[in-house]
């Protein structure tokens, strides 16, 4: 049999079901790939022994009726996994072993899959290039020295390099969609509240959402179906009936109205991005969709708003990392306060500290109204922009990122230029909407580029359908040479 690991998740599931491959052989194939891909630094922790145990158990008593029968999966190291170290890419959690399993990963395991390893990510998911991880940079398989995007950079890299058949990430301002775009893969940020946040190391509670990262739209539907669902342990979880995204996937999008927001044509946007967007529009027209010009007037304020709201929430969410109950504690510190200050100073990296300081400042006495309250008002305006537009359209098409993958170190000295990477992805988080990044082409260097489809709240099925139809007609193929092995 040809190399099974470069197949899509859906194809692999078919091979498992028809017994063309056993779960054990599949798992061994991935372990082999992972072991030869250390250069990519995509994994923080591997759980090969446990994975092989699980695979053998599956093969002994297979249940093919599950969504993910016998499938090994690596997940972002932001999901707490029972008895497996969970670091969130941080030194402050360098020895933390949860006694519990996040709801989302539990859902995946309940559907027949099991853990292969924990994937590197930006520290506490704060970053757009995976350069803030305490466990080192992750390399984009697209090219040596290229960043894989962030914060789910280990996830995008591992997926594109065939180190896992599919994966999951978290997206607070673009952390699924931007790395998907940089690696020529599919990434979906679901509607806020569709996937439980319980057991996921929190970055910014009102923005964080877990979502799938896959090679194809069909895979994406399978993964979303497996991981999502109401969770009474999360007060912000939406209580609704579970949807069968993969079964209901349709490629007929005739008559759908697709909004094209003029504000996403930003200054200094590379010509290639514009061309990609045009290509996307043309494909949708060919598929029978109707394009409608729309305006989302407050788009330019989304990123400044995000850089108030997200750090504010993070400064509070990260207060629990104090060296008292788990994780790293500095050896210095004679009294409690000194212990806190040293622990947090040594335990957190520069970007995390920067954002904690921003967040602390914007909430502090005398500045709250000018920053935090102002941001929550603008957030309201941004949400209203979308609400208004969605009265007349089914979905919105935009580029996923303002550029293709950049070089390691290229933007680390200028935080604002790094933040600008998320300019197209952030508004969606602020409004709590679902958005899909799908590979649509390459730039002149041959680096992948993605387009973003934004849907109404809980309209995941519709954007998956559009993506499904698009994928069939786009002709994009991710050509990655395995230069690292």
């Amino acid at each position: 049999m040809a190399d099974i690991t470069n197949q899509s998740l859906n194809e692999i599931i078919e091979n498992i079901k028809t017994k063309k491959v056993s779960s054990t052989d599949l798992t061994k194939a991935y372990i082999k790939n992972i072991e030869s891909a250390k250069k990519l630094n995509a994994f923080v922790t591997t759980t090969f022994d446990k994975a092989l145990d699980n695979a053998q158990q599956f093969d002994k008593k297979p249940n093919f009726d599950q969504l993910l029968p016998g499938i090994p999966l690596a997940v972002k190291d932001l999901f707490c996994t029972e008895n497996t170290k969970t670091t969130a890419g941080s030194n402050i959690l360098n020895n933390f072993i949860p006694s519990y399993e996040s709801t989302v990963t539990k859902n995946l395991w309940d559907n027949g899959s099991f853990l292969l390893g924990k994937l590197n990510c930006d520290e506490f998911a704060m970053g757009s290039s995976n350069e803030t991880s305490h466990y080192g940079n992750v390399i984009n398989p697209v090219g040596d020295q290229l960043v894989p995007g962030g914060s789910s950079g280990g996830s995008s890299s591992a997926l594109a390099a065939d180190l896992t058949p599919a994966t999951i990430g978290t997206d607070t301002g673009g952390s699924i969609r931007q790395p998907a775009s940089f690696t020529g893969t599919v990434g979906l940020k679901p509607t806020y509240g569709l996937c439980s946040r319980w057991g996921i190391v929190a970055f910014a509670s009102s923005l964080d959402q877990a979502g799938p990262m896959t090679k194809t739209i069909k895979d994406c539907a399978i993964m979303l179906e497996s991981m999502s669902g109401f969770d009474e342990k999360d007060s912000t979880s939406i209580n609704k009936k579970k949807e069968q995204y993969s079964k209901n996937l349709k490629d007929n999008i005739k008559g759908l109205k697709i909004g094209i927001p003029k504000e996403y044509r930003v200054d200094n946007m590379p010509k290639e991005i514009d061309e990609l967007w045009e290509k996307g529009k043309k494909i949708l027209i060919d598929l029978g969709a109707q394009l409608i010009d729309i305006s989302l007037p407050h788009t330019k304020y989304a990123l400044p708003t995000y850089y108030i709201v997200a750090p504010a929430e993070a400064s509070s969410n990260l207060a629990r990392y104090d060296g008292v109950r788990y994780g790293f504690r500095s050896k210095q510190g004679k009294d409690l306060i000194e212990m806190y200050e040293k622990t947090r100073s040594e335990g957190f990296g520069d970007e995390v500290k920067r954002r904690i300081l921003i967040g602390t400042y914007v909430l502090s006495s005398g500045y709250y109204d000018a920053y935090y309250l102002k941001a929550q008002k603008v957030r309201q305006l941004i949400k209203k922009d979308f609400d208004e537009s969605f009265k007349k359209i089914d979905a919105i098409l935009t580029p996923s990122t303002p550029s293709s993958a950049f070089k390691i170190g290229e933007k680390t000295n200028d935080p604002v230029s790094m933040y600008l990477n998320d300019i197209f992805t952030v508004p969606v988080n602020l409004a709590g909407l679902p958005a899909l990044s799908l590979p649509a082409g390459v730039d002149k260097k041959g680096y992948p580029l993605g387009l973003q489809l934004i849907g109404k709240a809980l309209d995941e099925q519709k954007i998956l359908n559009i993506g499904y139809a698009f994928e069939k007609n786009c002709g994009f193929k991710n050509e990655i040479k395995k230069w690292w092995s």
Binding site: S99, G323, M339, R344, S345, L357, T360, Q380, L381
Partner: protein, 95 residues
């Protein structure tokens, strides 16, 4: 508005993060460029806008009052940096 070193040190104190004197300079520069970017929001008049309280249009869901958790001291304490079978232990608090 600009953030000076003193203010940054104060904020760091509030956040319980000790900052190297040597790093204050570059931190000040970075934070000021970020705040310059953030302050684009001042262009917008938002006097009549109600701030967003939640992105979800639903009320808070509640649970029944029953004891369903606890009695897991071993789990709670097993990750603690200073081992003890009953308590979390931290350096003395100076009141």
């Amino acid at each position: 508005m600009s953030l000076d070193k003193e203010k940054i040190k104060h904020v760091a104190k509030l956040a319980r993060i000790s900052v190297d004197e040597a790093k204050v300079e570059s931190l000040t520069k970075d934070l000021n460029s970020i705040f310059k970017f953030i302050e684009q929001l001042n262009e917008l008049n938002t006097d009549k806008v109600k701030p967003l309280t939640s992105i979800l249009n639903q009320s808070l869901r509640s649970r029944k009052d029953k004891i369903s958790d606890g009695k897991i001291r071993e789990k709670i304490l097993k990750n603690s940096p200073k081992e003890n079978e009953e308590f979390f232990v931290v350096p003395k608090v100076v009141e």
